[in-house]
Protein backbone atom coordinates (compact mmCIF):
# COMPACT_ATOMS: atom_id res chain seq x y z
CA UNK A 1 0.00 0.00 0.00
CA UNK A 2 1.19 3.46 -0.70
CA UNK A 3 0.65 6.89 0.81
CA UNK A 4 0.18 9.63 -1.78
CA UNK A 5 0.68 13.16 -0.47
CA UNK A 6 -0.15 16.03 -2.76
CA UNK A 7 0.20 19.76 -2.26
CA UNK A 8 -2.04 21.49 -4.74
CA UNK A 9 -3.52 24.90 -5.47
CA UNK A 10 -6.61 25.62 -3.43
CA UNK A 11 -8.36 26.69 -6.61
CA UNK A 12 -7.88 23.24 -8.16
CA UNK A 13 -9.21 21.30 -5.21
CA UNK A 14 -12.80 20.86 -6.42
CA UNK A 15 -11.58 19.55 -9.77
CA UNK A 16 -9.13 17.17 -8.09
CA UNK A 17 -11.77 15.86 -5.70
CA UNK A 18 -14.20 15.20 -8.54
CA UNK A 19 -11.54 13.47 -10.60
CA UNK A 20 -10.53 11.23 -7.69
CA UNK A 21 -14.14 10.17 -7.13
CA UNK A 22 -14.39 9.31 -10.82
CA UNK A 23 -11.59 6.77 -10.48
CA UNK A 24 -13.17 5.32 -7.37
CA UNK A 25 -10.72 6.86 -4.94
CA UNK A 26 -13.24 7.87 -2.33
CA UNK A 27 -11.25 8.19 0.91
CA UNK A 28 -8.71 10.82 1.73
CA UNK A 29 -8.02 13.69 4.16
CA UNK A 30 -6.98 17.23 3.49
CA UNK A 31 -5.99 20.36 5.32
CA UNK A 32 -4.93 23.87 4.50
CA UNK A 33 -1.26 24.65 4.61
CA UNK A 34 1.02 27.48 3.64
CA UNK A 35 3.46 26.60 0.92
CA UNK A 36 6.79 28.28 0.27
CA UNK A 37 8.34 27.94 -3.13
CA UNK A 38 8.94 29.58 -6.46
CA UNK A 39 5.59 31.20 -7.05
CA UNK A 40 5.29 34.74 -5.72
CA UNK A 41 2.21 36.74 -4.92
CA UNK A 42 2.25 40.51 -4.84
CA UNK A 43 0.57 42.19 -1.90
CA UNK A 44 0.11 45.73 -0.73
CA UNK A 45 -0.79 46.92 2.75
CA UNK A 46 -1.08 50.58 3.68
CA UNK A 47 1.30 51.70 1.02
CA UNK A 48 3.91 48.99 1.53
CA UNK A 49 4.19 46.69 -1.43
CA UNK A 50 5.73 43.31 -0.83
CA UNK A 51 5.84 40.02 -2.60
CA UNK A 52 5.72 36.76 -0.79
CA UNK A 53 6.08 33.13 -1.67
CA UNK A 54 4.02 32.17 1.39
CA UNK A 55 0.87 31.03 -0.39
CA UNK A 56 -2.15 29.14 0.87
CA UNK A 57 -2.25 25.61 -0.49
CA UNK A 58 -4.17 22.43 0.16
CA UNK A 59 -2.51 19.23 1.31
CA UNK A 60 -4.14 15.88 0.54
CA UNK A 61 -3.22 12.49 1.96
CA UNK A 62 -4.53 9.42 0.20
CA UNK A 63 -3.67 5.82 1.12
CA UNK A 64 -4.17 3.46 -1.82
CA UNK A 65 -3.54 -0.16 -2.72
CA UNK A 66 -0.56 -0.72 -4.98
CA UNK A 67 -2.81 -1.44 -7.98
CA UNK A 68 -4.50 1.96 -7.58
CA UNK A 69 -1.27 3.93 -7.38
CA UNK A 70 -0.65 4.72 -11.03
CA UNK A 71 -4.14 5.86 -11.86
CA UNK A 72 -4.29 7.97 -8.70
CA UNK A 73 -1.05 9.75 -9.52
CA UNK A 74 -2.06 10.29 -13.15
CA UNK A 75 -5.42 11.69 -12.11
CA UNK A 76 -3.79 14.05 -9.66
CA UNK A 77 -1.27 15.19 -12.24
CA UNK A 78 -4.03 15.87 -14.77
CA UNK A 79 -6.58 17.54 -12.53
CA UNK A 80 -4.21 19.70 -10.47
CA UNK A 81 -2.33 21.01 -13.49
CA UNK A 82 -2.43 24.62 -14.71
CA UNK A 83 0.98 24.96 -16.31
CA UNK A 84 1.98 27.92 -14.13
CA UNK A 85 4.74 27.96 -11.55
CA UNK A 86 3.27 26.77 -8.25
CA UNK A 87 1.16 23.81 -9.33
CA UNK A 88 2.53 21.71 -6.48
CA UNK A 89 4.10 18.35 -5.75
CA UNK A 90 3.15 14.72 -5.25
CA UNK A 91 5.10 12.56 -2.82
CA UNK A 92 4.73 8.78 -2.62
CA UNK A 93 5.82 6.68 0.30
CA UNK A 94 5.54 3.08 1.38
CA UNK A 95 2.89 2.30 3.99
CA UNK A 96 3.53 -0.44 6.61
CA UNK A 97 -0.08 -1.11 7.51
CA UNK A 98 -3.58 0.42 7.46
CA UNK A 99 -6.43 -0.17 9.96
CA UNK A 100 -10.14 0.60 9.70
CA UNK A 101 -11.10 1.76 13.17
CA UNK A 102 -14.76 0.72 13.01
CA UNK A 103 -14.09 -2.96 12.16
CA UNK A 104 -10.47 -3.29 13.35
CA UNK A 105 -9.56 -4.81 9.98
CA UNK A 106 -6.08 -4.20 8.71
CA UNK A 107 -4.02 -4.85 5.64
CA UNK A 108 -5.82 -4.89 2.30
CA UNK A 109 -9.16 -5.28 4.14
CA UNK A 110 -8.40 -1.99 5.88
CA UNK A 111 -8.59 0.05 2.71
CA UNK A 112 -11.05 -1.86 0.50
Amino acid sequence: MKKVEAIIRKSKFDEVKKALHEIEVNFFSYWDVTGVGNEKQGHIYRGIAYSTSDIQRRFLVIVVSDNFLDRTVQTLLDSAYTGNVGDGKIVISEVLDVYRIRTRENGQAGID
Binding site: H43, I44, Y45, R46, G47, I48, Y50
Partner: protein, 414 residues
Protein backbone atom coordinates in the same frame (compact mmCIF):
# COMPACT_ATOMS: atom_id res chain seq x y z
CA UNK B 1 -38.19 79.20 24.81
CA UNK B 2 -41.00 76.73 25.44
CA UNK B 3 -40.62 73.31 27.09
CA UNK B 4 -41.29 71.48 23.82
CA UNK B 5 -38.19 73.02 22.28
CA UNK B 6 -36.21 72.40 25.48
CA UNK B 7 -37.28 68.76 25.33
CA UNK B 8 -36.38 68.47 21.65
CA UNK B 9 -32.97 70.02 22.27
CA UNK B 10 -32.22 67.77 25.19
CA UNK B 11 -33.39 64.65 23.39
CA UNK B 12 -31.14 65.40 20.45
CA UNK B 13 -28.20 65.94 22.79
CA UNK B 14 -28.87 62.66 24.54
CA UNK B 15 -29.10 60.81 21.22
CA UNK B 16 -25.77 62.37 20.24
CA UNK B 17 -24.32 61.27 23.56
CA UNK B 18 -25.27 57.70 22.73
CA UNK B 19 -23.81 57.98 19.23
CA UNK B 20 -20.48 59.25 20.55
CA UNK B 21 -20.49 56.45 23.11
CA UNK B 22 -20.98 53.95 20.30
CA UNK B 23 -17.79 55.20 18.65
CA UNK B 24 -15.91 53.11 21.17
CA UNK B 25 -17.11 50.03 19.31
CA UNK B 26 -15.82 51.67 16.18
CA UNK B 27 -12.37 52.27 17.64
CA UNK B 28 -12.19 48.79 19.07
CA UNK B 29 -13.13 47.15 15.78
CA UNK B 30 -10.80 49.31 13.73
CA UNK B 31 -7.85 48.67 16.02
CA UNK B 32 -8.50 44.94 16.19
CA UNK B 33 -8.97 44.65 12.46
CA UNK B 34 -5.66 46.28 11.65
CA UNK B 35 -3.59 44.31 14.16
CA UNK B 36 -2.82 40.67 14.71
CA UNK B 37 -5.06 38.08 16.28
CA UNK B 38 -2.63 37.35 19.08
CA UNK B 39 -3.16 40.82 20.58
CA UNK B 40 -6.92 41.18 20.22
CA UNK B 41 -7.86 40.67 23.87
CA UNK B 42 -5.28 43.27 24.84
CA UNK B 43 -6.73 45.87 22.52
CA UNK B 44 -10.26 45.18 23.68
CA UNK B 45 -9.13 45.43 27.27
CA UNK B 46 -7.54 48.83 26.64
CA UNK B 47 -10.66 50.13 24.94
CA UNK B 48 -13.01 48.89 27.63
CA UNK B 49 -10.71 50.35 30.28
CA UNK B 50 -10.72 53.74 28.59
CA UNK B 51 -14.48 54.09 28.32
CA UNK B 52 -15.18 52.91 31.85
CA UNK B 53 -12.36 54.53 33.77
CA UNK B 54 -12.43 57.60 31.53
CA UNK B 55 -16.09 58.23 32.24
CA UNK B 56 -15.65 57.73 35.97
CA UNK B 57 -12.71 60.13 36.06
CA UNK B 58 -14.73 62.72 34.18
CA UNK B 59 -17.44 62.24 36.80
CA UNK B 60 -14.91 62.39 39.63
CA UNK B 61 -13.13 65.55 38.59
CA UNK B 62 -12.76 65.87 34.82
CA UNK B 63 -15.97 67.78 34.15
CA UNK B 64 -15.18 70.37 36.77
CA UNK B 65 -11.61 70.67 35.58
CA UNK B 66 -12.79 71.32 32.04
CA UNK B 67 -15.63 73.68 32.97
CA UNK B 68 -14.48 75.36 36.15
CA UNK B 69 -16.69 78.40 35.70
CA UNK B 70 -14.84 81.58 36.57
CA UNK B 71 -11.09 80.93 36.50
CA UNK B 72 -7.74 82.37 35.51
CA UNK B 73 -8.02 80.90 32.01
CA UNK B 74 -5.20 78.39 32.45
CA UNK B 75 -6.09 76.08 35.31
CA UNK B 76 -9.24 75.98 37.33
CA UNK B 77 -11.24 73.44 39.28
CA UNK B 78 -14.72 73.63 40.70
CA UNK B 79 -14.69 70.63 42.96
CA UNK B 80 -14.87 66.86 42.94
CA UNK B 81 -17.98 65.01 41.88
CA UNK B 82 -21.06 66.35 40.20
CA UNK B 83 -22.84 69.07 42.08
CA UNK B 84 -25.87 70.21 40.22
CA UNK B 85 -27.40 73.48 41.28
CA UNK B 86 -31.19 73.62 41.49
CA UNK B 87 -31.66 74.99 37.98
CA UNK B 88 -29.54 72.22 36.46
CA UNK B 89 -32.39 70.03 35.34
CA UNK B 90 -34.48 72.89 34.07
CA UNK B 91 -34.81 75.06 31.04
CA UNK B 92 -32.83 77.72 32.86
CA UNK B 93 -29.54 75.77 32.97
CA UNK B 94 -28.29 76.32 29.44
CA UNK B 95 -30.91 78.52 27.82
CA UNK B 96 -33.07 75.48 27.23
CA UNK B 97 -30.49 73.62 25.18
CA UNK B 98 -29.77 70.75 27.55
CA UNK B 99 -29.70 69.86 31.22
CA UNK B 100 -26.70 69.63 33.55
CA UNK B 101 -26.71 65.84 33.35
CA UNK B 102 -26.79 65.88 29.56
CA UNK B 103 -23.97 68.40 29.57
CA UNK B 104 -21.85 66.17 31.80
CA UNK B 105 -22.53 62.93 29.93
CA UNK B 106 -22.12 64.31 26.44
CA UNK B 107 -18.78 65.88 27.35
CA UNK B 108 -17.81 62.74 29.26
CA UNK B 109 -18.18 60.63 26.15
CA UNK B 110 -15.81 62.94 24.30
CA UNK B 111 -13.14 62.67 26.98
CA UNK B 112 -12.64 58.98 26.53
CA UNK B 113 -12.25 59.23 22.73
CA UNK B 114 -8.99 61.16 23.13
CA UNK B 115 -7.55 58.14 24.97
CA UNK B 116 -8.58 55.57 22.39
CA UNK B 117 -6.55 57.43 19.78
CA UNK B 118 -3.40 56.57 21.70
CA UNK B 119 -4.43 52.96 22.27
CA UNK B 120 -4.38 52.25 18.53
CA UNK B 121 -0.95 53.72 17.97
CA UNK B 122 0.73 51.78 20.79
CA UNK B 123 -0.96 48.49 19.95
CA UNK B 124 0.84 45.15 20.06
CA UNK B 125 3.80 46.19 22.21
CA UNK B 126 2.86 48.36 25.18
CA UNK B 127 2.55 46.93 28.65
CA UNK B 128 -0.98 47.28 29.88
CA UNK B 129 -0.18 48.48 33.39
CA UNK B 130 1.80 51.56 32.29
CA UNK B 131 -0.77 52.19 29.60
CA UNK B 132 -3.50 52.36 32.20
CA UNK B 133 -1.43 54.81 34.24
CA UNK B 134 -0.90 56.93 31.15
CA UNK B 135 -4.63 57.00 30.41
CA UNK B 136 -5.50 57.96 33.97
CA UNK B 137 -3.15 60.92 33.79
CA UNK B 138 -3.71 61.93 30.17
CA UNK B 139 -7.51 61.52 29.95
CA UNK B 140 -7.95 62.39 33.60
CA UNK B 141 -5.94 65.58 33.67
CA UNK B 142 -4.39 66.68 30.39
CA UNK B 143 -7.52 66.40 28.26
CA UNK B 144 -9.78 68.44 30.58
CA UNK B 145 -7.14 71.10 31.11
CA UNK B 146 -6.70 71.65 27.37
CA UNK B 147 -10.47 71.57 26.97
CA UNK B 148 -10.88 74.24 29.63
CA UNK B 149 -8.75 76.67 27.61
CA UNK B 150 -11.40 76.75 24.90
CA UNK B 151 -14.74 75.14 25.70
CA UNK B 152 -14.34 76.01 29.35
CA UNK B 153 -13.86 79.60 28.19
CA UNK B 154 -10.21 79.81 29.13
CA UNK B 155 -7.46 81.84 27.52
CA UNK B 156 -7.81 80.44 24.00
CA UNK B 157 -11.50 81.24 23.93
CA UNK B 158 -10.90 84.96 24.29
CA UNK B 159 -7.50 85.48 22.72
CA UNK B 160 -8.76 88.57 20.96
CA UNK B 161 -11.11 89.82 23.60
CA UNK B 162 -14.46 88.53 24.68
CA UNK B 163 -15.49 85.48 22.68
CA UNK B 164 -13.17 86.31 19.77
CA UNK B 165 -10.38 83.84 19.64
CA UNK B 166 -9.48 80.28 18.83
CA UNK B 167 -12.39 78.24 17.49
CA UNK B 168 -12.77 74.48 17.60
CA UNK B 169 -16.31 73.41 16.87
CA UNK B 170 -16.15 69.76 17.93
CA UNK B 171 -12.52 69.14 18.79
CA UNK B 172 -10.06 68.84 15.90
CA UNK B 173 -7.52 70.20 18.38
CA UNK B 174 -9.12 69.65 21.76
CA UNK B 175 -9.87 65.97 21.14
CA UNK B 176 -8.08 64.72 18.06
CA UNK B 177 -4.80 66.57 18.31
CA UNK B 178 -4.63 65.97 22.05
CA UNK B 179 -4.91 62.26 21.30
CA UNK B 180 -2.63 62.58 18.30
CA UNK B 181 0.23 64.28 20.17
CA UNK B 182 -0.01 61.64 22.86
CA UNK B 183 0.10 58.94 20.21
CA UNK B 184 3.13 60.51 18.53
CA UNK B 185 5.17 60.79 21.71
CA UNK B 186 4.11 57.31 22.74
CA UNK B 187 5.18 55.58 19.54
CA UNK B 188 8.42 57.53 19.50
CA UNK B 189 9.32 56.44 23.04
CA UNK B 190 7.93 52.95 22.64
CA UNK B 191 9.69 52.00 19.43
CA UNK B 192 8.41 49.95 16.54
CA UNK B 193 7.06 46.44 16.70
CA UNK B 194 9.57 43.65 16.19
CA UNK B 195 9.86 43.00 12.49
CA UNK B 196 8.30 46.27 11.38
CA UNK B 197 11.51 47.80 10.10
CA UNK B 198 14.22 45.68 8.48
CA UNK B 199 17.76 46.35 7.43
CA UNK B 200 18.55 49.50 5.49
CA UNK B 201 15.39 51.04 6.84
CA UNK B 202 13.10 48.79 4.85
CA UNK B 203 9.53 48.96 6.05
CA UNK B 204 7.65 45.68 6.36
CA UNK B 205 3.90 45.20 6.15
CA UNK B 206 2.28 43.65 9.20
CA UNK B 207 -1.21 42.96 7.85
CA UNK B 208 -4.20 43.19 10.13
CA UNK B 209 -6.15 40.03 10.83
CA UNK B 210 -9.71 41.19 10.26
CA UNK B 211 -10.27 43.74 7.55
CA UNK B 212 -14.08 43.31 7.61
CA UNK B 213 -14.06 44.29 11.27
CA UNK B 214 -11.84 47.29 10.50
CA UNK B 215 -14.30 48.37 7.83
CA UNK B 216 -17.23 47.98 10.22
CA UNK B 217 -15.23 50.06 12.69
CA UNK B 218 -14.83 52.95 10.27
CA UNK B 219 -18.50 52.95 9.36
CA UNK B 220 -19.43 52.91 13.04
CA UNK B 221 -17.09 55.84 13.63
CA UNK B 222 -18.72 57.74 10.76
CA UNK B 223 -22.09 57.02 12.35
CA UNK B 224 -20.78 58.18 15.71
CA UNK B 225 -19.63 61.42 14.13
CA UNK B 226 -23.27 62.29 13.48
CA UNK B 227 -23.39 62.63 17.24
CA UNK B 228 -19.87 63.97 17.71
CA UNK B 229 -20.44 66.92 15.38
CA UNK B 230 -24.21 67.00 15.44
CA UNK B 231 -24.20 67.25 19.22
CA UNK B 232 -21.51 69.89 19.28
CA UNK B 233 -24.16 72.30 18.01
CA UNK B 234 -25.30 72.02 21.64
CA UNK B 235 -28.95 72.18 20.69
CA UNK B 236 -31.32 70.67 18.14
CA UNK B 237 -31.38 73.84 16.08
CA UNK B 238 -32.62 72.55 12.71
CA UNK B 239 -30.56 74.84 10.53
CA UNK B 240 -27.25 74.30 12.32
CA UNK B 241 -27.60 70.59 13.00
CA UNK B 242 -28.64 69.73 9.47
CA UNK B 243 -25.80 71.82 8.02
CA UNK B 244 -23.30 70.18 10.37
CA UNK B 245 -24.43 66.65 9.51
CA UNK B 246 -24.18 67.53 5.82
CA UNK B 247 -20.69 69.02 6.02
CA UNK B 248 -19.54 66.13 8.20
CA UNK B 249 -20.68 63.37 5.86
CA UNK B 250 -19.52 65.19 2.74
CA UNK B 251 -16.06 65.62 4.23
CA UNK B 252 -15.98 61.93 5.18
CA UNK B 253 -16.92 60.84 1.67
CA UNK B 254 -14.50 63.28 0.05
CA UNK B 255 -11.71 62.21 2.38
CA UNK B 256 -12.24 58.59 1.46
CA UNK B 257 -12.34 59.24 -2.27
CA UNK B 258 -9.25 61.43 -2.20
CA UNK B 259 -7.29 58.83 -0.25
CA UNK B 260 -8.50 56.14 -2.63
CA UNK B 261 -7.44 58.10 -5.72
CA UNK B 262 -4.10 59.26 -4.34
CA UNK B 263 -3.14 55.85 -2.98
CA UNK B 264 -4.18 54.10 -6.20
CA UNK B 265 -2.03 56.51 -8.23
CA UNK B 266 0.89 56.17 -5.83
CA UNK B 267 0.82 52.44 -5.23
CA UNK B 268 -0.93 51.12 -8.34
CA UNK B 269 -3.35 49.01 -6.28
CA UNK B 270 -6.75 49.52 -4.71
CA UNK B 271 -5.86 49.60 -1.02
CA UNK B 272 -8.96 49.39 1.17
CA UNK B 273 -7.24 50.44 4.38
CA UNK B 274 -6.13 53.74 2.84
CA UNK B 275 -9.69 54.35 1.68
CA UNK B 276 -10.88 53.76 5.25
CA UNK B 277 -8.23 55.99 6.81
CA UNK B 278 -9.12 58.70 4.29
CA UNK B 279 -12.72 58.70 5.51
CA UNK B 280 -11.51 59.22 9.06
CA UNK B 281 -9.11 61.94 7.95
CA UNK B 282 -11.96 63.79 6.30
CA UNK B 283 -14.06 63.49 9.45
CA UNK B 284 -11.29 64.83 11.66
CA UNK B 285 -10.57 67.60 9.18
CA UNK B 286 -14.12 68.94 9.22
CA UNK B 287 -14.48 68.64 12.99
CA UNK B 288 -13.08 72.09 13.79
CA UNK B 289 -15.40 73.98 11.50
CA UNK B 290 -18.36 71.77 10.57
CA UNK B 291 -20.78 74.53 11.43
CA UNK B 292 -18.87 77.22 9.53
CA UNK B 293 -18.32 75.58 6.18
CA UNK B 294 -20.52 75.43 3.13
CA UNK B 295 -21.00 72.00 1.58
CA UNK B 296 -18.55 72.91 -1.19
CA UNK B 297 -15.90 73.88 1.34
CA UNK B 298 -16.60 70.70 3.29
CA UNK B 299 -15.90 68.60 0.20
CA UNK B 300 -12.70 70.54 -0.47
CA UNK B 301 -11.51 70.16 3.12
CA UNK B 302 -12.32 66.45 2.94
CA UNK B 303 -10.44 65.96 -0.32
CA UNK B 304 -7.35 67.66 1.08
CA UNK B 305 -7.61 65.64 4.30
CA UNK B 306 -7.74 62.41 2.33
CA UNK B 307 -4.67 63.34 0.33
CA UNK B 308 -2.89 64.32 3.54
CA UNK B 309 -3.70 60.91 5.02
CA UNK B 310 -1.91 59.05 2.24
CA UNK B 311 1.11 61.30 2.46
CA UNK B 312 1.07 61.30 6.23
CA UNK B 313 1.04 57.53 6.61
CA UNK B 314 4.02 57.35 4.30
CA UNK B 315 5.81 60.13 6.19
CA UNK B 316 5.33 58.52 9.60
CA UNK B 317 6.67 55.32 8.11
CA UNK B 318 9.73 57.03 6.65
CA UNK B 319 10.42 58.59 10.05
CA UNK B 320 10.72 55.00 11.28
CA UNK B 321 7.74 55.43 13.60
CA UNK B 322 5.42 52.45 13.77
CA UNK B 323 1.75 53.41 13.82
CA UNK B 324 -0.34 50.28 13.20
CA UNK B 325 -3.61 52.11 12.61
CA UNK B 326 -2.52 55.48 11.24
CA UNK B 327 -3.65 57.28 14.39
CA UNK B 328 -1.00 59.99 14.24
CA UNK B 329 -1.78 60.77 10.61
CA UNK B 330 -5.55 60.79 10.98
CA UNK B 331 -5.85 62.50 14.33
CA UNK B 332 -2.80 64.71 14.71
CA UNK B 333 -1.96 65.77 11.16
CA UNK B 334 -5.58 66.04 10.01
CA UNK B 335 -6.49 67.51 13.38
CA UNK B 336 -4.01 70.34 12.85
CA UNK B 337 -5.17 70.76 9.26
CA UNK B 338 -8.81 70.82 10.34
CA UNK B 339 -8.07 73.41 12.99
CA UNK B 340 -6.35 75.69 10.50
CA UNK B 341 -9.21 75.43 7.97
CA UNK B 342 -11.29 77.63 10.29
CA UNK B 343 -9.00 80.50 9.34
CA UNK B 344 -8.88 79.60 5.67
CA UNK B 345 -12.44 78.67 4.71
CA UNK B 346 -15.95 79.31 5.91
CA UNK B 347 -17.71 81.92 7.92
CA UNK B 348 -14.77 82.81 10.14
CA UNK B 349 -12.01 82.85 7.53
CA UNK B 350 -9.41 85.55 7.89
CA UNK B 351 -5.80 86.28 8.72
CA UNK B 352 -6.51 87.13 12.36
CA UNK B 353 -8.55 83.98 12.84
CA UNK B 354 -5.83 81.92 11.21
CA UNK B 355 -3.37 83.23 13.77
CA UNK B 356 -5.77 82.37 16.57
CA UNK B 357 -6.05 78.85 15.15
CA UNK B 358 -2.28 78.58 14.97
CA UNK B 359 -2.05 79.71 18.59
CA UNK B 360 -4.46 77.01 19.66
CA UNK B 361 -2.54 74.38 17.75
CA UNK B 362 0.70 75.57 19.33
CA UNK B 363 -0.65 75.82 22.87
CA UNK B 364 -2.21 72.37 22.78
CA UNK B 365 0.83 71.00 21.02
CA UNK B 366 3.37 72.26 23.51
CA UNK B 367 1.34 71.24 26.54
CA UNK B 368 0.45 67.80 25.19
CA UNK B 369 3.95 67.00 23.93
CA UNK B 370 5.53 68.00 27.22
CA UNK B 371 3.00 66.26 29.43
CA UNK B 372 2.88 63.10 27.31
CA UNK B 373 6.66 63.01 27.31
CA UNK B 374 6.91 63.47 31.07
CA UNK B 375 4.35 60.76 31.75
CA UNK B 376 5.58 58.19 29.25
CA UNK B 377 9.29 58.81 29.75
CA UNK B 378 8.74 58.62 33.48
CA UNK B 379 6.99 55.29 33.09
CA UNK B 380 9.67 54.07 30.70
CA UNK B 381 12.47 54.84 33.13
CA UNK B 382 10.72 53.45 36.19
CA UNK B 383 8.65 50.42 35.32
CA UNK B 384 9.26 50.11 31.58
CA UNK B 385 6.56 50.51 28.97
CA UNK B 386 7.29 47.75 26.53
CA UNK B 387 6.67 44.01 26.76
CA UNK B 388 9.74 41.83 26.38
CA UNK B 389 10.68 40.16 23.14
CA UNK B 390 9.19 36.74 23.76
CA UNK B 391 5.90 38.25 24.93
CA UNK B 392 5.66 40.40 21.88
CA UNK B 393 6.34 37.48 19.55
CA UNK B 394 3.92 35.11 21.26
CA UNK B 395 1.25 37.75 21.72
CA UNK B 396 0.00 39.98 24.50
CA UNK B 397 -3.22 37.98 24.83
CA UNK B 398 -1.30 34.99 26.11
CA UNK B 399 1.21 36.81 28.27
CA UNK B 400 -0.60 39.86 29.61
CA UNK B 401 -4.02 38.22 29.85
CA UNK B 402 -3.63 34.45 29.69
CA UNK B 403 -6.52 34.49 27.26
CA UNK B 404 -7.20 33.44 23.71
CA UNK B 405 -9.31 35.82 21.70
CA UNK B 406 -10.53 33.12 19.35
CA UNK B 407 -10.17 30.03 21.48
CA UNK B 408 -12.39 27.86 19.37
CA UNK B 409 -11.42 29.36 16.03
CA UNK B 410 -7.84 29.92 15.07
CA UNK B 411 -6.61 30.74 11.60
CA UNK B 412 -3.04 31.98 11.59
CA UNK B 413 -0.51 32.20 14.32
CA UNK B 414 2.60 34.21 13.93
Amino acid sequence: MDTATFTANNVWMMVCTALVFFMHSGFAFLEIGLTRQKNTINILFKNIFIITVGLLMYFGWGFNLMYPGEFNGWLGFSGFGLDMDPTGATIAYAEGKYTYWTDFLFQGMFAATAGTIVSGAVAERIRIGPFMVFIILYVGLIYPIVGSWQWGEGFLYSLGGDGAGFYDFAGSTLVHSVGGWGALIAIWLLGPRIGKFGEHGKSNAIPGHNIPLATAGVLILWLGWFGFNGGSVLSADPARTSLVLTTTSLAAAAGGVAAFLVSTLAYKTYDLTMFLNGILGGLVGITAGADLMSPNEAVLIGLISGAIVVGGISLIDRLKLDDPVGAVTVHLICGIWGTLTVGIFGAMAGGQQFLYQLSGVAAAGIFCVVSAFVIIYGLKKTVGIRVDRQEELEGLDLHEHGMDSYADFRMNQH
